[in-house]
């Protein structure tokens, strides 16, 4: 029997128009994924400031995933393109900051893709669990 198995903490930023609705659809279809995933609703994936992601890691999150509309389908026409570029830039600097790149991901989930949302979350949780606890950036002063 495993004792003290680490349960990861995952923060998921979901855009209101596609991915948040995709997450709702996963719920409607009762598609299970781990409760470790906690969703924060944003109007568009381009609202996600890289600071939010670093803040989550600092406060002890083990993984952060950003979900938006598919390229070309953005409710705001071009927001997800900004996300793609900004996150590519941020992720390329993560190793330098001491966080494994694999703790982050950008994924496009449409409002019709409930199954994709659940599958993505299952996969991402598995990936982050394999990496273990995020100890490198976590700020102990923030720990209760």
């Amino acid at each position: 029997m495993q004792v003290n198995e680490h349960k990861p903490l995952i923060v998921a930023f979901c855009c209101n128009w596609c991915s948040y609705a995709g997450a709702d659809l996963a719920g409607n279809n009762r598609l299970n994924y781990p409760a470790d995933v906690k969703i924060i609703r944003v109007p568009c994936s381009c609202r996600v400031n890289p600071m939010f992601i670093l803040r989550a890691f600092q406060r002890g999150a083990d993984g952060v995933i950003i979900c938006g509309c598919h390229p070309g389908d953005c409710h705001y026409t071009s927001g997800n393109y900004y996300t793609r570029r900004r996150m590519a830039a941020l992720f390329s600097m993560l190793d330098f900051l001491g966080i494994e790149k694999e703790r982050t991901r950008v994924e496009w989930v449409s409002a019709a893709e409930g199954a994709k949302f659940a599958a993505t979350m299952n996969d991402f949780v598995e990936q982050v669990t394999a990496l273990g606890e995020n100890k490198r950036l976590e700020d102990l002063r923030c720990k209760r």
Binding site: L9, V11, N16, Y20, A21, A23, D24, A26, G27, N28, R30, L31, N32, Y33, A35, K38, I39, I40, R41, V42, P43, C44, C46, R47, V48, N49, P50, M51, F52, R55, A56, R59, G60, A61, H75, Y76, T77, S78, G79, Y82, R86, A118, C142, R144
Partner: protein
């Protein structure tokens, strides 16, 4: 700190089945700001809403957190409840513990634990909420339609029918567009002029509609309900209000060798011209590049024969300023240039023509008065080869043609082939195709008739090469079904050229800050649910500027665009979405980063005077967001290097608070 009330919903057993709602409401009681916490079977029911209203009164609540289903479901409901209870509707936050918790987790312990965390995040957020009031802006009750083809005409007529004034801006001297050049229309074969020209007359006679022909839009400012547009009326050197359209000047003009655009250069017109007999407005126009009087001051014949005295050689371009509440784009399409398709010998032989040229050749008002004659020698062709998909569905040759299907070519080619066989039964007609696509009411029946009743020879395969030889065109093609090469001696080759958006579309899209796809077609706000609106508020799309379309589809889209415009103009005031960006001008350094990422052009800059700590004043450039234009995506908030830009309802400190609450 807010006085927060927490309301946990059971949703029958939907939530209560996997989440211990009692434990959730107990656990959230001790969160900062929470002064009241309760749970109930159905929060969204009348009894549940009354419970919220009573709690607001009793505990003097300033913020509400409802732990229930998705905000996409009932956020609006609970905002109304809040407003009815007397607090700002934007002081409500929803914790989604149904779709994103109880429905996806089976274990009560984990479900409850997650629901508590989601509740804490919502409480952390609502503590930082500020009351928001949607802005209001007035609506100018006048619409602008850009483009005077069938799309623009139908839109303008429908808007005017509802009682709103409309202006049409058309670059050509007459309205009518491409449809005016067509001969007959599929699948009913009624003549285009017979159904279009009465509509053109309706436009001219409608007192709600003004036509700016031979004009273009030169500047667009403003936003939904309040567009400020400059229209450039090009000098036509004829006084529009005086000219009667009698045509005496056209007859007398000595410069008769100007290629006639209306007949695609297949015959000539004079330097002063009326494009066609049913033109609206029926007013002559002088072509400044051809007129002797305008070029070197010698002639003046038209002024002498004009009994009305309408000719004015000194006329200048005129700029007109007008305000509009809504703008409809109806700029239409053009066939692509055949210059890059050397294999079809379009530039080498006059007898290789495009389908639109064929349309003019068979039109009774065309250059041959409707007799099908070869452009080179005037003989009647005995063998005609139609080539479909010239430049359409061309993924391997993107620099030459287009990747998309032009949609209308299959049907008009079937029409051309059928009409040819009907009028000249001894003519042999071949059609080469990749696929025949005929989805549409009575379309496939029409195509079957061309094949079965009229004996048009449809061959699956493409034409590889056309070589002019003597007075014949040697056509080399493959028959994919018989798997053999064909060699046909044709008299006339007709190319179904792909269609592309009009060249004026891109600069117009820039002026409108409306988005386009890679092919320069305007993008709709939603491909299925908002097909006639542009993502830019107040800009609507009509006809082929949005994608290839036939006439019935164009007319229905034109009507749909008109109804959206009427819906907008019927309002006296527009209520905006209060969740928009705003800039803290004390932090803004005027760097323009936010403006560059704004897809809506909502951000402008102003020079403002600031009092400095040493009591001097300083003028600084700062960003200003127009709340009526901003759609609230938040792209600018991340682009802003100084942190001056923030988004109402999704402020940085609110999202940070959510992150903190989840990560505790």
């Amino acid at each position: 700190m807010q006085r927060v009330g927490v309301f946990v919903c059971w949703c029958g057993s939907n939530i209560a089945g996997t989440v211990d709602v009692q434990a959730v409401s107990e656990a959230l009681k001790s969160e900062p700001g929470v002064v009241f916490s309760a749970n109930y079977q159905y929060m969204c029911s009348q009894a549940g809403q009354d419970m919220i209203k009573e709690a607001v009164k009793e505990h003097n609540l300033t913020g509400i957190v409802v732990c229930s289903c998705s905000p996409r479901m009932h956020e609006a409901t609970f905002r109304k409840t809040a407003a009815a209870a007397g607090i700002n509707p934007y002081m409500v936050e929803i914790a989604n513990i149904r779709e994103q918790c109880s429905w996806v987790h089976k274990d009560i312990a984990t479900g409850t634990e997650k629901a508590i965390i989601l509740g804490k995040a919502a409480i952390a957020k609502v503590n930082l909420n500020t009351p928001l009031t949607p802005g209001e802006s007035p609506v100018t009750k006048r619409a602008l339609v850009i483009g005077g083809g069938i799309a623009g005409i139908q839109t303008a007529l429908d808007i005017a029918d509802a009682g709103f004034p409309v202006d049409i801006v058309e670059t050509k001297p007459t309205i009518g567009g491409k449809m005016a050049q067509l001969d007959k229309t599929f699948p009913t074969l009624d003549c285009a002029a017979c159904i279009l020209t009465p509509k053109m007359v309706d436009v001219a006679q409608n007192e709600k509609i003004r036509i700016f022909s031979y004009s273009e839009v030169s500047e667009i400012k403003g936003f939904v309900g309040n567009f400020d547009v400059t229209i450039k009326k090009n000098a036509r050197y004829v006084k529009e209000d005086i000219c009667t359209g009698c045509g005496a000047c056209v007859e007398k003009c000595p410069m008769k060798k100007v290629p006639n655009e209306f007949n695609l250069g297949m015959d000539n017109r004079s330097a002063i011209y009326i494009p066609f007999a049913q033109a609206v407005p029926k007013v002559a126009t002088i072509d400044p590049n051809a007129c002797n009087m305008l070029k070197n001051g010698k002639c003046g014949l038209c002024a002498r024969v004009c009994t009305a005295g309408a000719i004015d050689y000194t006329q200048k371009d005129e700029y007109i300023n007008e305000k509009y509440g809504a703008i409809v784009v109806a700029t239409g399409f053009n066939p692509i240039s055949m210059d890059k398709f050397d294999e079809f010998a379009y530039n080498q032989s006059k007898d290789v023509i495009t389908s639109l040229e064929f349309e003019r050749l068979t039109n009774a008002a065309g250059p041959t008065a409707g007799h099908l004659e070869r452009p080179s020698d005037g003989k009647s062709p005995k063998t005609i080869v139609f080539v479909q998909c010239v430049g359409s569905r061309c993924d391997a040759c993107a620099e030459k043609g287009k990747e998309y299907c032009s949609k209308i070519c299959c049907m008009y080619t079937a029409k051309h082939a059928m009409l040819t066989r009907d009028k000249y039964p001894d003519t042999e007609v071949y059609v080469f195709y990749i696929d025949v696509r005929t989805p549409g009411k009575n379309f496939d029946e029409f195509y079957r008739r061309a094949v079965e009743e009229y004996g048009v020879k449809y061959v699956k395969g493409m034409v590889g090469k056309v070589t002019p030889e003597g007075d014949k065109l040697k056509v080399q093609a493959s028959d994919l079904i018989a798997n053999k090469q064909l060699h046909i001696d044709a008299d006339l080759v007709v190319l179904a050229a792909a269609i592309e958006p009009d060249k004026s579309a891109r600069p117009l899209a820039t002026m409108l800050t409306a988005s386009m796809d890679t092919n320069d077609f305007f993008t709709e706000a939603h491909p299925k649910l908002r097909p006639v609106e542009s993502p830019t508020a107040g800009v609507f799309l009509s006809g082929a500027c949005q994608g290839p379309k036939d006439i019935p589809e164009t007319v229905s889209q034109a009507g749909a665009a008109a109804s959206k415009v009427i819906g907008l103009l019927a309002k006296d005031k527009l209520t905006g979405n209060p969740c928009v960006a705003h800039s803290n001008e004390l932090m803004c350094n005027g760097c323009s980063s936010c403006e560059k990422v704004c897809a809506y052009g909502a951000i402008t800059y102003e020079n403002k005077e600031f009092r400095m700590p040493d009591r001097t004043t300083k003028i600084r450039r700062v960003a200003v967001v127009n709340p009526a234009v901003c759609q609230g995506c938040g792209a600018c908030t991340v682009a802003c290097p100084s942190g001056a830009m923030d988004l109402n309802g999704f402020a940085s400190n609110q999202i940070m608070a959510e992150v903190d609450a989840i990560c505790k």
